[in-house]
Amino acid sequence: MENVRLHFVKINNAKYLSHLDTYRAIMRAIGRTDLNVWFTEGFNSHMFISFPLPLSLGMESTCEVADIKLLYPTDYVAERINAFLPEGIEVFNTTTPKMKTAQIAYAKYIIELDDLSVSQKDLAEKLRTFMSKDEIMLKKTGKKGKETVFNAKDKIKDYYIDGSGKKLMMVIVCDAGPTSNLNPAAVIEAFSEDIGREIDHISVRRIKILTADMKEFE
């Protein structure tokens, strides 16, 4: 059996696909190829696919990973699958997994903001002020529907704001993975609420999945 890690992008309209829909799209694309993938055993046999770090609805990514198992080594895996993927999802590399899901600790995102009625300088200033607060309190609904509040700043490792381009940009590194995770879109939502404006354009793109020692997840 061959463990294969698919590295793919999820951009443009594909950002509107939920994780479950993405899973189904990839499974279906693989189903259309002649690849001999491993199916789980048992009553409800289905194709084995595992996603080490699911992406939230509305976000783009250039560094997604999914693991599958092939019955024997096969060439051109990416090309075969790509032929059947919907627009916006594309496998750009396949590797043999070196790391385990549990090693994921952080992820790096690029956030772009554009507001047609606020000058960029202004918006950048406001964002700087907001981000430099000691506390950015966010709400989180737990499994039983109970709301808890946490400080997002505890989960932000690093960030950088660049107001020199056409759109306001922020690069942010924050907790990712099953133990502690932060959705940076929630931070922007809180920012938007804070300044009392609906920002016209927000794009959040994941660009790196990182381990505890800031190495790229392989």
Binding site: N13, D21, R24, P86, D200, I202
Partner: protein, 613 residues
């Protein structure tokens, strides 16, 4: 995508409903097309995308060079709120262009309770709701589908209707529309040209007058056109267009699988079933073709499930051969076959076995009535022994749950017939426990699902008065009290929805104002429980001086002129009257393949329906 649409999509549930871009969706270059239409389904994406007819028509329209057909579904209310908030007009999925700017807007009429959703979509698109208020720059709005057999309650909202099978008329009408556009004909002249196509019904060409008692006095073509409009019949399914690709949605939809139509129409003639009459005669595809179409669609979509659809799949004369062909390759590829619409009377264990090689799913049977007497009245020719025989086979194959469908409110129904539903369900529970082969320790579930009867045009029961809401509810209580076993799970539909449906099913043109008022009163997504309110309908009827009973519970005389009498579906009134009389005297009518009952369709077809072609 512009910032506004981005913002809108960011704030709605399931944005993927509105983005298009699915595998096999069709995007053409705007400068290479000269006619653009949009196929609208008046329900959510998930429901509309599950509909086979829309997939076929989408493909047909787009197979015409120079024509681009896109899709549009009813946006959920959260999306509608956002669209209104930003003044953003309803758009088509493929290009995101507003549908109000298209050349033509087509709707499919699958169920009456979607009518108000049609108005909701037109409104969101900024298209005038009334055909008479549309200008030269507005799109031509038309519709087809089963409810087009009596489109009178929505006649004012449409420029034309296409009656009958859609495969050919869709191409002919779009070619005609294109020609009219090229020649810059006015709306009025365009409709005149269209009306020359067989199957096209232009409601504004007809004038309806009423008698004092509210029934129709006369229906007259006021522009010198045909007195009646004949529906279209496809004579051969084997040569009919069938898509080799279908769109694979990105999000989960209701029927998320390949669907292959195996036959159209039905040979049985259950007297309550409109589909059993308006799609006559039964026509089937050859096993070889079905097998080819299935494999082609599986290869082009990546689905691992296929459903063989029809009104009654087990009536396919080559079903055994077909299943053998399919299983020869689907099993190995782990493709699941499902056969909805099996009938109880011609069911054998080899079929169960073949359809469940990959995965077991539930079995459903339509018994329709609880006693043999009533089943004879409705011409549902299955016996209690057959139902038992079938359930025994199912149980012996390892099934532990079966679902039975019934209807309340059939003509001549008595309380004994209702208790019969409980008795029949109970006898199936008992049957399970009497079988020595049953799996030890496993219990059985019989789901008894009970709908309310709605009298429909072009059926022998078009004359029948429907039960009132109170009567339906009394019957539901009686049934509930008659069921003693916990192994029977009783499900019944809301009687009020069925009564509202009945208003529209046999309604006339005066209801257009009622539909409009109900919509203005806030109705949308009425086929969903949360969207429906009966009071809106009674209010609107009252406001317009119309009576509920006139449309629903009134028994109609066999010589009454019906609002749909100018539409010819091939079935003669003489036949329907005769069938109604036979029903009242409990006489059954054999299936078409046993004996032709001269319903009139063969005459329209110009040859006998079965036998030598």
């Amino acid at each position: 995508m512009d910032y506004t649409l981005e913002k809108i999509l960011r704030s709605v549930q399931k944005p993927a409903r509105y983005i298009g871009g699915e595998l096999n969706s069709i995007v053409k270059k705007k400068n290479e097309v000269d006619y653009r239409l949009v196929f609208c389904f008046p329900d959510t994406y998930e429901i509309g995308m599950s509909h086979l007819g829309m997939k076929i028509l989408y493909s047909i329209y787009n197979s015409i060079p120079g024509v681009w057909c896109e899709r549009c579904f009813a946006p959920w209310t959260d999306m509608a709120d956002e669209l209104k908030k930003y003044g953003y007009r309803l758009f088509a999925l493929e290009s995101k262009d507003p549908i109000g700017d298209f050349d033509a807007v087509a709707f499919t009429l699958q169920y009456e309770m979607s009518y108000t959703t049609i108005l909701y979509m037109l409104d969101l698109a900024g298209i005038p709701l009334l055909a008479s208020e549309r200008g030269e720059d507005d799109p031509i709005v038309f519709a087809g589908g089963p409810c087009a057999c009596n489109p009178e309650p929505i006649a004012d909202f449409f420029d034309f209707f296409a009656l009958g099978d859609g495969e050919e008329i869709s191409v002919e009408t779009v070619e005609c529309l294109r020609k009219c556009k090229r020649e810059k004909l006015s709306r009025k002249d365009t409709l005149m040209e269209l009306s020359k196509i067989e199957g096209v019904y232009v409601p504004q060409h007809y004038e309806v007058t009423y008698k004092r008692d509210g029934t129709v006095k006369a229906i007259r073509n006021t522009v010198g056109g045909p007195k009646t409009v004949k529906r279209r019949i496809l004579t051969d399914l084997d040569t009919a267009y069938y898509p080799d690709k279908i769109i694979v949605p990105l999000i989960e939809i209701v029927h998320d699988r390949v669907m292959v139509e195996v036959l159209r129409g039905c040979i049985h003639g259950c007297r309550f079933c409109q589909a059993g009459f308006i799609y006559r005669p039964q026509r089937y595809k050859s096993a070889e073709l079905i097998n080819d179409q299935t494999s082609c669609l599986i290869n082009n979509t990546g689905y691992s499930e296929v459903s063989l659809t029809s009104l009654s799949t087990s009536d396919h004369p080559e079903l055994g051969d077909l299943l053998d062909r399919l299983i020869s390759w689907t099993e190995e590829r782990k493709i699941n076959l499902s056969l909805p619409s099996l009938r109880i009377d011609n069911f054998d264990s080899s079929i169960i076995d073949k359809t469940t090689r990959v995965r077991k799913s539930g079995l459903t049977f339509a018994a329709e009535a609880g006693t043999q007497r009533l089943r004879d009245v409705i011409n549902k020719n299955v016996t209690e022994e057959e139902i038992h025989g079938t359930c025994r086979i199912a149980f012996e194959e390892g099934y532990t749950s079966v679902k039975l469908y019934f209807m309340l409110g059939h003509p001549t129904e008595t309380d004994e017939d209702i208790k019969g539903i409980a008795d029949l369900s109970q006898s199936i529970v008992d049957l399970y426990y009497s079988l020595p082969t049953r799996q030890k320790g496993k219990s059985v579930t019989v789901t008894t699902s009970v709908a309310c009867f709605v009298p429909k045009p072009f059926t022998p029961f078009q004359y029948v008065g429907q039960d009132t809401v109170e009567e339906f509810e009394r019957k539901q209580r009686l049934l509930k009290d008659s069921i003693k076993s916990k192994k029977i799970s009783l499900k019944y539909h809301d009687a009020r929805t069925s009564v509202a449906e009945a208003i529209l099913a046999r309604g006339d043109r005066r209801l257009c104002q009622v539909v409009l008022d109900v919509y203005r009163d806030g109705a949308v997504f009425e086929s969903w429980d949360e969207g429906f309110s009966f009071e809106r309908w009674t209010r609107a009827l009252e406001k317009n001086g119309l009576s509920l009973d006139f449309y629903t519970s009134r028994e109609r005389s066999t010589d009454e002129i019906f609002p749909w009498d100018h539409l010819d579906y091939g079935i003669t009134k003489r036949f329907l009257k005769k069938e109604y009389e036979r029903a009242m005297s409990g006489e059954t009518t054999p299936a078409c393949t046993e004996k032709c009952s001269a319903c009139g369709v063969a005459r329209m077809l110009g040859r006998p329906c079965f036998g030598k072609r």
